[in-house]
């Protein structure tokens, strides 16, 4: 779904898993914050977006 090129400079991908102890400086909610964000990133894209993206070329 995501182009590889984007993935490489994307530090938001869940490289740091919730509960990862390397995040020891962070309070408990810090993982929750990432979970809130990642849960939206991982949602399937609604059709409205697929439609919009497919219509973009006509607007160039």
């Amino acid at each position: 779904m995501m182009p590889d090129r984007f993935k490489t400079n994307d530090q938001a991908s869940p490289a740091v898993r919730p509960g990862d102890k390397s995040e020891k400086d962070n309070p408990e909610w810090a993982n929750g914050l990432r979970q809130l964000y990642d849960s939206v990133v991982e949602e399937p894209l609604p059709d409205t977006f697929k439609d919009l993206l497919s219509q973009l070329d006509a607007k160039a």
Partner: protein, 202 residues
Amino acid sequence: MSESERTASEQADFKRELTGVVPHLRAFARGLCGRADMADDLVQEALLKAWAAQERFQPGTSMRAWTFVILRNAYLTDMRRNRFRGEYDEGVAERILTAPAGQEEPIHLSDLHRALLTLPAERREALLLVGAGGFSYEEAANICGCAVGTIKSRVGRARAALNAMLSDGDIPQRSLDDDTAHRAILEELDEVAAGNGVASRS
């Protein structure tokens, strides 16, 4: 300068990258305005603006950062028009709470979500970019058009506020600056006082 200077393959690259960042735009927008429906409207608006402005995108730079700036500007414009107030979306938090099993501590994400929405918009935004989006302070400063020190200070204040709210369990029920609701109530009262209450309106 002219649109014709972009080749078809450059345009295809742009579109592929733009498509790739849509999930991130949705996540950032949801964090900014707190409501899924409004967030998606905002993302659609940002996508159209990004597409229209594609000549200004430098290939090889971060599409995510570039589109976040566009999304953020759209959000701020709408905020000024009072379209968004950080409203708590009960459904989203519930779905998140019940959906993914397997995390270690069942941290109260609905509390966190509510606490986030009580933060001033610029602190919430800074925390989202750095703490959830994985941007560096420098990148976040570029996106917000402010100094790195300003971002650090906003993130620090946001963290301190969340620490305090979540450790004390003292989270306001609604956004603190919900003047829209207050104004609506006052206007209703004025109507009633003027003898134009609901009953006399039919």
